[in-house]
Symmetry: C2
Subunit: 121 residues, 2 copies
Amino acid sequence: MQTQDPLTATFAALADPTRRAMLARLTQGPATVNELAEPFALTLPTVSRHLKVLEQAGLISKQRSAQSRPCTLEIAPLVEADAWMAQYREFFTTRFDRLDTQLKAMMAARADAAKPSRGDQ
Amino acid sequence: MQTQDPLTATFAALADPTRRAMLARLTQGPATVNELAEPFALTLPTVSRHLKVLEQAGLISKQRSAQSRPCTLEIAPLVEADAWMAQYREFFTTRFDRLDTQLKAMMAARADAAKPSRGDQ
DNA sequence: ACATTATTTGCGCTATCGCGTAATTACATG
DNA sequence: CATGTAATTACGCGATAGCGCAAATAATGT
């Protein structure tokens, strides 16, 4: 896993349903590797590797508590991804506005078509 | 590319700097495959395949205008990804609040440490 | 019909991903 | 120190990703 830019690492980490489910679980609070593995039909090594991907993306951190290593959700990469999305939020609100305008124009045209027997008042 | 759930397809599509750059370009308005290829040191077939990934994720659509196929940014998958993120937005605002509280507590403790030569007033 | 421009498809290559099994490290406890 | 529990690393496998090159398709202009 060649070092890549943070956004790429974040999106790559999120591009897997198992990993997203793990993050969802971690919103409930920290959990050990075993606990995180429990809902899945996957072996522990596989789960461990998924967690490593999340960790390297900065999406989780691992503490050490006795034999277990509880994982905690880390928000920084999500904030960054969110900031990236924001760039498009503006775009798509204007897009929606335009759609809205178009829609209104269409409805107006339809209304006109419905009662065409009128002058411009 | 086995059919997968939309979020996975979206995040996978976003997990590539080239594809993200293409989306950024498309916020400026539609562009042809050639135009989208121009900034990159990539062959056209490669660019075409990147665009196919974006299209299959629903992030762009292709029109046909004469010989060229202008691509347009489509927002639906971004809205969906945004909705997924929102689930965490709430989490990380509470997280920040907690951090904030902790920080204030720490600073208060420091202030106390700075002037310990005082009774409880 | 023929040449031109725009884009995609087929093929082969190397690299990475996701998975399991087996072996290994790191702690804790009898 | 031996045993058990938690987690990781090593190794190999089949599938997929990303790339270029060459060939094919699509639409247009001559």
